[in-house]
């Protein structure tokens, strides 16, 4: 049990995928203008990350390893991720048309979110078992959601603040992200896995 807790803390805080490992920066900058959209995106990404982490583990363990074709892991993981994202898109379109409209192009773009493929490949590298990979994917998604929601809440405040004109828009966003990244570096050494 402690192991799973440690995995969660490690992925959410210490090795945060966005702010420490710099994976998945595209949606981090792209969907963080509004808090509500950021929450929707976090939910969708959490769903995709956890599911694709589990699915890719199953594909690797029960399909690629027994047939001795583990060199095909990258392309088969991309296939798995694309399917999971397509499925999520259909579910979101059916259940929440407004969220679907707000997320727009970023929903199908979860496919190219490098954190998703990164988690699947890191699971293999770390030789996680089934539950561990599920927790690893879930923790990575929680970390992504935490960073994205914090960042979008800050950007909403910055939007009404009196920012000097050369720093308006994306520039102040980049600086804020850099400062957040520095802040998260403070967790280094808290847990080591």
């Amino acid at each position: 049990m402690t192991d799973y807790l440690l995995i969660l803390i490690s992925t959410v805080l210490v090795n945060n995928f966005v702010l420490v490992q710099f994976l998945g920066l595209c949606p981090f900058m792209g969907v963080s203008n509004k808090l509500e959209t950021a929450m929707g995106m976090s939910l969708a990404t959490t769903f995709v990350l956890t599911l694709s982490s589990i699915c890719s583990y199953l594909v690797y363990e029960y399909l690629l390893l027994p047939l001795d074709i583990s060199y095909l892991r990258t392309i088969s993981f991309i296939l798995v991720i694309a399917v999971v994202v397509q499925f999520t898109e259909m579910v979101v379109h059916k259940t929440s048309p407004l969220l679907y409209r707000m997320l727009g192009i970023f929903l199908p773009l979860i496919t190219t979110n490098c954190a998703v493929l990164g988690v699947a490949l890191l699971n293999i590298n770390k030789q996680n078992n089934f539950l561990e990979s599920a927790f690893y994917g879930f923790g990575a998604a929680l970390g992504f959601a935490l960073a994205l929601i914090l960042f979008s809440a800050m950007r909403e405040r910055i939007a009404v603040a009196d920012v000097p004109s050369p720093f308006k828009g994306a520039a102040i966003g980049m600086i804020t992200a850099g400062l957040m990244s520095l802040g998260f570096l403070g967790f280094t050494g808290l847990v080591q896995i």
């Binding site: 399909l63 690629l64 074709i69």
Partner: protein, 219 residues
């Protein structure tokens, strides 16, 4: 068996299985129509007046869902625009003057003694709120009338008036805050204030120096 053949077959089989899964999901989670159009349509005033240059409220709702501007509805006015802006998460714009101005809600009234029974207003009415037949006097069902004034133009004897609905206890409401008022505290104007203060200060000092010099000369 050839390892390359195995690899190709496995990928092919995987793609087929996933494709079948997605095919099933697309049938299971099929979206009927466009639900967002219904939500926009519910916010529009349903006058069917066509002032937005679309034939009715529903077509305009469909156009908004496809990215049309939300400020083309004069009967709805500022309230409709802000409600649409909140729904679609976009900036609320002032009403587009090209499509007419916001007017108080009114209702059509036919002066019945002048009506010649030509049925032209009945054909023009988008909501079937005018009752009558050929060579018979017409009248407006005021509960159904949306106040779109589309029937005023075709009337050959000009016997239709638009009567504004008087504000009653049931319909009165506080007016909305005027746009342009700062609702959030900000120090945006601070630099300007400091600059003005400094200029005034300099001016006063210059004036004082000037009067001193004058005095020195006279003495």
């Amino acid at each position: 068996m050839d390892p390359i053949l195995i690899a190709v077959l496995v990928l092919l089989a995987g793609a087929l299985v996933f494709g079948a899964l997605l095919g099933y999901a697309s049938i299971r989670f099929k979206v009927e129509g466009n639900p967002i159009v219904d939500q926009i349509d519910a916010l529009l005033p349903q006058t069917q007046c066509g002032q937005c240059s679309y034939p009715g409220c529903r077509p305009y709702a469909e156009a908004i869902a496809n990215g049309e501007a939300i400020n083309k509805c004069p009967p709805g006015g500022e309230n409709t625009i802000s409600a649409l802006a909140a729904l679609l998460d976009v900036e609320a714009l002032p009403l587009d003057a090209e499509h007419g101005e916001e007017q108080s809600k009114s209702v059509a009234y036919i002066r019945e003694e002048e009506c010649i029974g030509c049925t032209k207003c009945i054909q023009a009415c988008p909501v079937d709120a005018i009752l009558g037949a050929a060579k018979q006097m017409h009248t407006v069902i005021s509960a159904e009338c949306t106040g779109c004034d589309l029937c005023v133009e075709p009337c050959p004897v000009d016997c239709i008036d638009m009567i504004p609905i008087a504000t009653s206890l049931a319909t009165w409401a506080w007016s909305r805050p005027q746009p342009g008022v700062q609702l959030i505290a900000t120090d945006r104007g601070r630099h300007l204030a400091i600059q003005q203060h400094r200029e005034r200060h300099d001016q006063q000092q210059a004036d004082a120096a000037g009067t001193d010099a004058d005095r020195g000369e006279s003495a």
